[in-house]
Amino acid sequence: MTSDDPNADQFDELNDARWPELEAEDSPSEGPSPSGPPISADFVERTLGRVLEDRAQIDEEAERVDSFEFPRGFLQNYEVPATSPGFVQRTLDALADDDEFSQSAEDRELSRLLRAFGPDSISGGFVDRTLDALHDEQEKRDDEEPLRSALPHYELPPVSANFVDRTLETVLADREQDETEATPSNVHSMWSWRGAALRLAAAVLVSAGIVFFAFDDDDLPTQTPGANNDVAEAPSDLDLHLATNRLGTQLEDDEEILRVETVDPLILMMQQAALAQAQQSPTRNR
């Protein structure tokens, strides 16, 4: 029963009348409930007692429902005014104008159409055929069951302890052999980092000699006063940079796959090779 129910007010008044009594019966030890008014300890028992009492009263009254009847025709003095003419037609018109009812009619029509969109008839024995197929499928599964049960017993032999190490060694050896057997047509394999390093080191030695003898006197760096000028001057960082750039460009032109990240250690190698060759060259007098 909702609070808007006509009889709700009656219950509200009953409830209101009970609150003072409940508060008076409250046990002090219970204290106020944080979620509502305090509830007496025997609330459930008292409520149950009232419910049972009410139930008994209802049963008693129900048994006496026919104990009194109004005299025949007495209640008919309370007549209902005659219905205005055309009520039925007005109601039917209202139904026809009612969007919600019209929608229901459309839904019904749609349902009929949907039902019509389907197989005209189901072939005879469909159910039996389906059941037979299911039965056959089950029998097939049953036949396979012993084999399926036996499969877990087919165990694998134990793996040797050094299997992983042996496999790894085999893989590495195989890779090294591939690099060794690389053919000229296999550019990518040939330009593995080892091959590239060797080729670049050779190229650096040749190019560094070219760079060193290509220096003009004016291009030589200024000598430091007081220094041992009998010793051949080492190429400056700029010279080495120019030389390596030249070499890098040449290599890039030859092979596009040369990557930047592989150049860094190679530059270092080229610098070291050029420096060593410069130190071993004969002293040049200015």
């Binding site: 129910d5 009889n7 209802i58 309370y78 209202a94 139904l95 839904d107």
Partner: protein, 194 residues
């Protein structure tokens, strides 16, 4: 209680307008009567509109009526009457206090209308009808509806229980209380008419 056959309901569910017309023709008087007697003569000018609204709701939902649930179509329609009338009472906040001396559902009010004591023969039937209405309006809504459905529309206890959503025992109890209240209230006319 007027019965509506399942075939007629199925035809109406299929969208047959003739079936809808037959249902309205057969049920409109009891429905208007129930609305009028439950809400009282103050709704006399609206009773037909209210009944029409009930029919609209019934036919909007008629597809949902399940023949297999063992509920009579007429009983199902009366649930719409009940719900719609209770909605009206809620919206208008009409008081529904009981003046039954044995009614424990709420406070009692005493009517100081001296004409209530006049013998029945001194009153025209319409005036007696007015006294019956006044006595009915003093009942609680549940008792009043149970009484109207039982005494005026002839529904059995089980159907009333289905309409009101309570047990048969509760229906009988409410009817007993309603009768006792009305008998007390109308006793001068009952004695005169007996």
């Amino acid at each position: 209680m007027i019965e509506i056959t399942n075939d007629l309901v199925r035809q109406a569910q299929a969208g047959d307008q003739d079936a809808a017309r037959q249902i309205i023709e057969r049920l409109h008087r009891p429905i208007i009567g129930t609305v009028y007697r439950f809400l009282g003569s103050r709704f006399a000018s609206e009773a037909e509109d209210i009944a029409q609204d009930v029919f609209l709701k019934v036919f909007r939902a008629i597809d949902r009526f399940d023949h297999d649930r063992g509920v009579k179509f007429t009983t199902w329609v009366y649930t719409f009457v009940r719900n719609h009338c209770f909605d009206i009472l809620k919206k208008r906040r009409l008081p529904t206090v009981s003046m039954s001396p044995i009614d424990e559902d709420g406070p009692r009010i005493e009517t100081e209308d001296e004409s209530m004591a006049q013998p029945r023969e001194e009153l025209e039937n319409s005036e007696l009808g007015q006294k019956i209405e006044e006595a009915l309006s003093g009942l609680g809504a549940d008792q009043r509806l149970a009484f109207v459905l039982r005494e005026y529309e002839g529904l059995d206890y089980g159907s009333i229980a289905q309409v009101m959503g309570v047990s048969e025992g509760t229906v009988k109890s409410r009817l007993h209380r309603a009768k006792e209240a009305l008998r007390t209230r109308l006793s001068p006319y009952l004695r005169a008419g007996a």
